[in-house]
Symmetry: C2
Subunit: 138 residues, 2 copies
C-alpha cells in the first residue's frame, strides 16, 4: 500500500474510534464542470458524520521533501475545496488532517500559525501509528 | 534552459517592455525562520518597480499535467507570499502571472473565477512567445 494510503486509512480508523461514521471516501466534488479530483496525485477527501455533525477531511501525509511546499499545496487545496463545499454542502465543515510530528515541527511555527489563523483553517492532528486523533483545532 | 525558466524570463522581458525595472530576481523572503523558497521546485518571485509602483510577481507556467492541481498550489503559494509581504513590505502588490492559453482555457471558468474573486488574487496574463503582457486584472 502506498504510504499516503496508510495515512489516509489511519485517519479513517481514528475517526471511527471517536464515533464517526465514514459516509464517503472519496467525497465526489464537481464545480462548474471542473472535477477537483482530476489530478490522480491529489489527496482524496473523506466525509463523515456523527449525530448531526457533518465533516469533510483533507488528509495530508506531509511526506514530500519540503514542508513549506507541501503546505502551499495543502492550503490552496483546502481553500478551493472549502469554496466548493460552501456552494454545494454549506453545513459540512472542512478540516485539514496533518500528522502530529509535522504539526509539532512545522505548524507550531509563526508563519504557518499566521496562515492558518488568517484563513480560518480547521485542523485535525493525528497519530498514524496509533490511529488516533491527538488534537482538533477549530 | 528549463521550460519554466523560459516562462519566467518571458515575463521579465514583458515587464521591462512596459517600463518596469526588475529590482530582485528572486525576491528573498524569510518569515519566522522559515525560508519560503526552501523547495528547489518552487517558482521564484520577481520584484519590479515603475515610478512609485512596486510589485512582486509569482510566475506560473502551468506546465503540469493537471491545471486544477497546479491551481491549488499556485493559490496556496500566492496567499502565503502575500501574507509575508503584508508583514515585511506592505506597499508592494503581489500578482500571479499565468500564460494566456491557460487563462483562456481554465481561469475563465466559474470555479477559478470564484476562487480568484474570493481571495482577491491579482493576475498578469502573459504571452510567453511574444514576451508581452496581454492583461492586468486587479
Amino acid at each position: 500500500m502506498a504510504a499516503r494510503d496508510i495515512f489516509h486509512n489511519a485517519v479513517k480508523a481514528a475517526l471511527q474510534k471517536e464515533g464517526w461514521t465514514i459516509t464517503h471516501d472519496p467525497l465526489p466534488r464537481l464545480y462548474g464542470g471542473i472535477d477537483l479530483y482530476i489530478d490522480p496525485g491529489a489527496e482524496r477527501i473523506l466525509a463523515a458524520e456523527r449525530g448531526d455533525e457533518r465533516i469533510a477531511v483533507e488528509v495530508k501525509s506531509f511526506l514530500a521533501t519540503s514542508l513549506v511546499s507541501e503546505f502551499h499545496t495543502a492550503l490552496g487545496q483546502f481553500l478551493n475545496y472549502r469554496l466548493v463545499l460552501e456552494e454545494q454542502d454549506p453545513e459540512r465543515e472542512l478540516f485539514l488532517a496533518v500528522p502530529f510530528d509535522t504539526y509539532n515541527l512545522f505548524f507550531t511555527q509563526p508563519f504557518p500559525q499566521l496562515a492558518i489563523q488568517r484563513h480560518h483553517v480547521k485542523l485535525i492532528v493525528y497519530d498514524a501509528e496509533q490511529e488516533e486523533i491527538t488534537l482538533w483545532q477549530s
